[in-house]
Amino acid sequence: MTTAAIEVRIPTILRPYTKDAKVVSADGADLKSLISDLDRQYPGLAERLLEDGALRRFINIYVNDEDVRFLGGLDASLKSGDSITVLPAVAGG
């Protein structure tokens, strides 16, 4: 397994976890391992992205410009140079 230097864009609401950093760097061959690495660097972050081991319904994660739900979700494979964007859904009732 190769590791990858992947840029992750963090939304405002999660920046308290990243000491206000808007863009952080993490490693992982797939999204699941990338999130583990993020959580190792920024404890608590995974809990905001995952629920019962699955992606939260109202958190959107994109690999480059593609919604990760169309790329296999947590199994989406990643490579060095990919850019991840995390955005909370804009939704309500």
């Binding site: 939304p11 405002t12 609401i13 109202f58 959107n60 994109y62 410009d65 919604d67 739900r69 964007t85 955005l87 909370p88 859904a89 804009v90 939704a91 309500g92 009732g93």
Partner: protein, 138 residues
């Protein structure tokens, strides 16, 4: 904390809400980065097409954030309509509010208040709702 906004934009949002009734209408108002001033109205499609729920399409959402970044703008206001209830954040509005820096604007298209203007603004931070005064500039 307060929201100052032009009459033109308020009227456009109310009009959009009536047009999209019985579905909830939604959108954002953008302004120059750091200004906190709502200047550019951007109606969004309610991907839920529902009278009780709204959601920006995930693809539209990414495009919106890219556009905001490219133009050095910020999302000043996130608005949506309630179709049959008052313009106050619902439990789901509070649960999903993900932009602590934005004004959350609610309008209502319920008949008993139309054509009166029900246009209200809130901050929603960590599950706490704070209503704020709205000044409409003619």
């Amino acid at each position: 904390m307060s929201l100052t906004i032009s009459r033109t934009i308020v009227d456009q949002i109310l009009q959009q809400s009536r047009t999209e009734y019985p579905d909830e209408a939604c959108g954002v108002i953008l302004g120059p980065q750091g200004s906190g001033t709502p200047l550019r109205l951007k109606p969004m499609i309610n991907a839920a097409h529902s009278p009780t729920f709204y959601e920006f399409d995930p693809k539209d959402l990414l495009a919106l954030y890219r556009e905001v970044d490219d133009k050095d703008e910020e999302i000043v206001v996130i608005y949506h309509s309630h179709t049959e209830t008052e313009a106050y954040p619902s439990r789901t509005d509070i649960a999903y509010a993900g932009e602590p820096g934005a004004h959350y604007v609610l309008v209502s298209t319920r008949e008993e208040i139309a054509p009166a203007t029900e246009f209200r603004s809130y901050r929603i931070i960590d599950g706490m709702v704070t209503e704020e005064p709205v000044t409409i500039l003619d």
